[in-house]
């Protein structure tokens, strides 16, 4: 769900996620990344994510069939069943349904594997878009004193509406579909990013060397590039991973409520939604996509933990 991210703990206190270190004492970039890669959480999470990514990319060659191919004669088969698919031209072929079939005879294994694409796309896209929009707005709010008040009030207003309700309402307005679902999940997530970025900007501005630079007349752009952005990078990356995880869960919840991605595009969320009415007889409809979803979200969360521990140790002390 949006807002389940641990770092939201920092917002209302408006505390700085991590004080920027004075210039000259920055650790050399190379060793940071090595530290990152060596962290166990990053390794585990990253590995699982890699596997999922490979599955998403290589889905057509992993023993799958067309995930939308309906075969009324093969409905509701148990995992491991042999089914005969009758193609468009009347010819039939044998296929083993590793995960069973759903209530329209579609091969669950294929659907789950193709579903990886949707979930990863949703997660990644929501994360990138939310971070980008939030970054821009946060920078504006932090730098332009006069816009700060109204912008933050607007963000407060958005945050006050529970994320999923806002997403449902947005999907109702824009209709279903991949783009609208992504946007509907992005909107409630933006305020959190804005707060994060803004607090970084505010704290950086109060640093003595920045005050000095301002008094000397340094252009805002330079301040941005040299001081603000590098300090937002780490917390944003970490927040990005958590946004990704929560976006995947949000998409699943929206599909479960019937307001997500339309079922022609298999996503783990809508596979579960379609299978829920047969839960007791054919639990595999829920079990397999549920497993993949939980595993992927777990991987992303673990990765985020690891990134946070290595990239931003001060922040990790808060969490």
């Amino acid at each position: 769900m949006p807002s389940s991210t641990p770092e939201s703990a920092t917002e209302p206190l408006d505390r700085v996620p991590g004080l920027p270190s004075p210039p000259g004492t920055h650790a050399a970039p190379v060793s940071i990344w090595r530290r990152v890669l060596r962290n166990r959480a990053v390794m585990v999470g990253g590995l699982i994510l890699m596997v999922m990514l490979l599955i998403a990319l290589l889905a057509p060659w992993l023993g799958t069939v067309d995930p939308t191919e309906i075969d009324a004669a093969s409905r509701n088969r148990k995992p491991g069943a042999e089914i005969t698919l009758t193609g468009a031209d009347g010819e039939s072929r044998e296929h083993t349904a590793w995960f069973g079939t759903d209530n329209l005879g579609r091969d669950l294994y294929s659907r789950v594997l193709y579903g990886t694409r949707v979930s990863l796309t949703v997660g990644f896209t929501v994360s990138v878009i939310a971070i980008s929009i939030g970054l821009v707005i946060g920078l504006v709010a932090g730098f332009a004193r006069r816009l700060d008040g109204p912008v933050m009030r607007l963000m407060d207003g958005l945050m006050a509406i529970p994320g999923i309700l806002l997403a449902i309402a947005l999907v109702a307005v824009w209709g279903g579909g991949l783009t609208t679902v992504i946007l509907a999940i992005v909107v409630p997530d933006v305020p959190r990013v804005v707060r994060l970025v803004r607090s970084v900007v505010l704290s950086v501005r109060e640093e003595p060397y920045v005050e000095a630079a301002i008094s000397v007349g340094a252009p805002t752009i330079m301040l941005l590039m040299r001081h603000v952005l590098p300090n937002t990078l780490a917390p944003l990356i970490v927040q990005g991973t958590f946004l990704c995880a929560s976006a995947m869960l949000s998409e699943a919840a929206l599909s479960f409520l019937g307001m997500g991605i339309p079922p022609e595009i298999p996503s783990w969320g809508n596979i579960i939604a379609e299978g829920r009415s047969l839960f007791r007889i054919h639990p595999h409809n829920i079990f397999y996509p549920g497993l993949f979803l939980a595993l992927t979200v777990l991987a992303v969360n673990v990765l985020g933990d690891g990134l946070r521990d290595t990239l931003d140790p001060k922040m990790s002390r808060r969490l």
Binding site: T68, A72, A88, G175, P262, S277, R280, I281
Partner: protein, 524 residues
């Protein structure tokens, strides 16, 4: 001595009877109906749940029995004048509304007037009506301008929309809007408890102690409607799985419709009996107003491409509960026929491909809105898509929730601008019996809707049906209607399905219920 003994026995008997009735009266029935109720007005809503609600609370003037013959219900008798222009109805004695006021002929007249403004069968009757006369409180006359063969059948209409008798002040509400909860006052066997209605949670009905059932046994919608339980709660449980689990655990007494896939859960349970509750006819409807289905040859190609067997298998699954039926009229009913449908609805992809080529199909996508939240309709979308695509159509599905279907279907625009090309739904068997009761069969170029078909010959035949006065004539015309249908593509029958419900064995119907009614149902 004997007198005292008799009195003693009488007192005992009375005590026993009241004790028994006390037992009966202490019963509450918890039922999960197939959907929740939002609108309470059976004339304004076309949802079956509202129709069922209608039959709980209101009663009919005349009604169909199980042999499909019209019998008196609230009326005690009627007479028809020799020139067939005047129908005189006499009401039974002692009929009362739930608020205690008596039922009068003014109420009947107002109810009929409201009905003919809205219902398709009623609209067909309306032009023939010259007027009404309230002769006295119990007697009224319906006067026609010219003879109309189906007056009684129209007044006995049980489904979509049912012809129910409402109090005058309720019936005088505009027919364009549903009535509110405070106006749900009827003279039927159950009383709607507006104060206990929790929308989205439950609807409560209690037995009407003042209801006077007829003395004959119940048959179809006619006869004596005896309420044998004291209180009925319709619970809203949208998840079928949860509802069935609640049934097997005894938390509810009846689930009106159990999806066929879940039947194995209840079939083995010794405490549960499975009942066929209703049958339905799936159908499709093409949009004549815009491409690609503005071309009759393209329409025919679609009808050839669709495959009833596959659709039924996909939606229902278990062959015990579906039947391929190429007739527009429910198979097994009086008018059912195969005329004109040879070669159609079989999924003949090759032939359809050729027909499309001959028709000059230019690739305009067929847009199919379908409801993802109704398990009885949701699979139809993908099934139809695959079948049409295999015939060479380009298809786009437009998934949405059921409530949004209505407004979408009403949009008379090109599919690309928010309109539609094809949609599917179903009719209860009782509504699929003739060429005139269904709104979708209206092909009057000016007044047809939801697809806007326009065919003078089809409409002419429907009129002829309404005026035909012998069963043979009716059958012949009905056959011609169906033949015309496959020539022009007004209605695409997609097969029949039996909807099955399950109930606790403590419940028992004392007669063969026509739809899910709650009279004649007892709980031990």
């Amino acid at each position: 001595m004997q007198a005292r003994f008799t009195r003693f026995i009488a007192a005992l008997a009375l005590a026993g009877l009241s004790g028994l009735s006390g037992l009966v009266q202490a019963q509450t029935l918890k039922v999960v109906m197939h959907s929740d109720i939002k609108v309470l007005d059976p004339l304004v809503s076309s949802q079956y749940i509202v129709r069922n609600h209608g039959h709980m609370v209101w009663d009919q003037l005349v009604a169909f029995d199980e042999k499909n013959e019209v019998r008196p219900q609230m009326a005690s008798r009627w007479t028809v004048s020799p020139d067939k222009l005047v129908y005189t109805f006499v009401l039974r004695d002692g009929l009362e509304w739930h608020d205690g006021t008596p039922v009068t002929s003014e109420d009947c007249i107002a109810s009929i007037k409201r009905f003919v403004q809205r219902d398709p069968s009623g609209l067909r009757l309306a032009p023939s009506i010259a007027g009404f006369d309230a002769v006295d409180a119990k007697t009224f006359r319906l006067k026609l301008k010219e003879p109309y063969a189906l007056v009684l059948e129209t007044l006995a209409k049980p489904s979509l929309s049912p012809m129910l008798i409402m109090p005058k002040r309720v019936a005088e509400s505009p027919a364009s809007e549903p009535i509110g909860p405070e106006k749900v006052i009827g003279s039927g066997p159950f009383i709607f408890k507006a104060d206990e209605w929790k929308p989205g949670e439950k609807v409560v009905y209690v037995r009407n102690p003042k209801y006077k059932p007829r003395s004959e046994p119940p048959s179809g919608f006619a006869g004596g409607k005896v309420a044998m339980v004291e209180r009925i709660e319709w619970l809203a449980i949208p998840d079928a799985q949860t509802a069935v689990s609640a049934l097997t655990r005894g938390e509810v007494d009846m689930v009106e419709i159990v999806p066929t896939d879940l039947l194995p859960l209840v079939e083995k349970d010794k405490a549960i009996s499975v009942l066929p509750f209703s049958s339905g006819q799936y159908f499709g409807r093409m949009n004549w107003a815009f491409p690609p289905f503005d071309n009759v040859k393209v329409r025919q190609a679609a009808m050839v491409a669709l495959n009833q067997e596959q659709i039924l298998k996909g939606v229902i699954g278990d062959p015990r509960y579906y039947k391929v039926c190429k007739s527009m009229y429910f198979c097994g009913s009086q008018l059912a026929t195969d005329a004109g449908s040879a070669g159609f609805y079989q999924g003949d992809a090759k032939r359809a491909q050729q027909m499309l080529k001959d028709a000059g199909y230019d690739g305009t996508p067929v847009v199919i809105p379908y409801p993802t939240d109704l398990p009885t309709l949701a699979p139809l979308g993908p099934l139809a898509k695959q079948q049409l695509e295999r015939a060479g159509f380009k298809v786009q599905l437009a998934p949405m929730d059921w409530q949004s279907m209505g407004p979408r279907l009403r949009k008379k625009e090109k599919a690309a601008d928010g309109g539609w090309s094809f949609f599917m739904s179903f009719y209860d068997a009782r509504d699929a019996l003739d060429p005139i009761g269904r709104t979708v069969l209206n092909t009057n170029c000016k007044t047809s809707f939801l697809g806007w078909p326009c065919d003078d010959k089809f409409e002419f035949l429907r009129d002829a049906y309404a005026r035909a006065d012998t069963p043979e004539a009716k059958r012949d015309i009905a056959r011609q209607v169906q033949e015309r249908n496959t020539e022009v593509g007004v209605f695409v029958p997609l097969g029949e399905a039996r909807f099955v419900g399950a109930m606790n064995r403590k419940l028992e119907y004392t007669f063969k219920a026509p739809i899910t009614v709650f009279w004649g149902l007892k709980k031990s």
